[in-house]
Assembly symmetry: C2
Homo-oligomer: 282 residues x 2
């Protein structure tokens, strides 16, 4: 499979992995967000992912992927995952050998103001949960969508610069500015686990391990840092406690409306890298 196909498959394997406490998976729909919305999101994102694989600019490919993803009624299904996958696909298509953190960092650092403008346009297509920006950055609030583009252009910010503004509070942005460290950690971990279970199952396992290592930044934004830390601790207990504890953890997250979506985004990105490097196969 080519890079765009591996990215589409990574999106599908990520959502198929179960149990993935707090997120939609093969065995759990949420009331307004169902497994099939993620299937449709992955299909719709294909055009933008293929554009990235054919060398289109990151912003253009990302906006196209998000527009395609949004052709379903569940709302934002894979915005964060696509923000990781688009530069990874472009870097894979450009890489000479196996994809490295340096390859994707080069793509991230080469983004332009036009990429940043397309990134803002992508917010016009999907209802993405975002926190208030810092007081001095209100003009750059992504929730303004394409209305913020004049401010971005005036300050001559690239997409990398825009994400660097948010990398302390958002772990997808932190991947961009931090050599995709957790993405590659996840891929390495998936490679270790590859012989033990099918791809979607080791994706779910790695999700729990990631959740136990660092508080999810989407949970922190929506429910505060204390809740995010408590979810992290409970993920650790779930890992140590076995299937029943995992199931109880999953139930309680759904009851409390807690959705560690950023961690799922990183699993999708890690699955892509492991597929692209041939370490995980289906």
């Amino acid at each position: 499979m080519n890079a765009a196909e591996n990215a589409q498959l990574a999106l599908l394997l990520e959502v198929a992995g179960t149990p993935k406490p707090g997120n939609v998976d093969r065995a759990r729909d949420l009331p307004d967000l169902r497994f099939e919305h993620f299937l449709a999101g992955a299909v719709g994102a294909g055009l933008g992912l293929r554009a990235a694989g054919e060398g289109a600019p990151v912003g253009e490919a990302f906006e196209q992927a998000v527009a395609g993803m949004s052709q379903q009624a569940g709302g934002n299904t894979q915005f964060g995952a696509l923000l990781l996958l688009v530069p990874l696909v472009k870097a894979t298509a450009e890489a000479r050998g196996d994809l490295t953190p340096e390859d994707v960092t080069r793509v991230a650092e080469s983004t332009t103001t036009e990429d940043a403008a397309d990134f803002y346009r992508a917010f016009d297509h999907a209802d993405v949960y975002v926190d208030d920006p810092p007081k001095d950055a209100e003009a750059l609030d992504v929730r303004r969508g394409s209305d913020a583009i004049p401010a971005v252009e005036e300050r001559d910010l690239t997409l990398y610069d825009v994400l660097a503004l948010g990398d302390e509070d958002d772990d997808v942005a932190a991947e961009w500015t931090g050599s995709f460290e957790r993405t590659f950690w996840t891929a390495d971990r998936l490679a270790e686990l590859a012989d033990s279970a099918p791809a979607s199952a080791i994706g779910a396992r790695t999700y729990l391990e990631l959740l136990a290592r660092e508080p999810d930044t989407l949970v922190a934004k929506q429910h505060g840092p204390k809740v995010a830390e408590s979810v992290r601790v409970r993920a650790q207990e779930a890992l140590e406690g076995g299937p029943e504890v995992v199931e109880a953890f999953a139930e309680s997250l759904v009851e409390d409306g807690i959705n560690p979506g950023t961690t799922a985004d990183i699993v999708a990105a890690g699955l892509f890298v492991a597929l692209a490097r041939g370490e995980v196969t289906v």
Copy 2:
């Protein structure tokens, strides 16, 4: 979504629908054939489906779709479904209004000897279960793959002609020569059910209804007509009996290694038509 995307989504919704007694679904893997093989098959088939949507000949698009589908370790996942979807996608792209049985029949009847040759080549990519051919048609045995092409060309058979040779014993072939009757019946039924449950759930419901109406031809080929008829009767009982009877039926089919795969193919085709006509949405 365009026709190729709707076809890819139809493949995914079909396999996501549960319970679908005897087949892999969102809640059931078989020992060597797993849900994720179907996810990878749907991703890989994309290139051939897009070729069909862009007007490529049916045989060429079908061979490309099957080659792409086969890039996973589960073997034949969606061969029959693709044999229905490829002409449906091509017909949708060519149709002036909503897709009709006449549109797709025109595509089927316009196939050439070159389409037939590509159809035989598709068997080189996937291990498809096929019964013995009639005594006088051994040279045309699809199990010979591309080795049978000289005999096809010598007899000047189109793809439509080849499928007409098997339409008594194979319900995918019977769709080709019978105005895609069960495909459109399924689409109409899905449209009726569309407000009652999500798309994958009504797909599973319709699967059971189809299975209760006519014996599955893959089951008949693998286990004989008596077993296929008994499966039909038990599907009817399951429909009348509710969830527990359906579950028991599903368990017993898996234990006996009975796989009503042709019925699942028709559900995928029906889901495509309903999506393309906007009667079912995700």
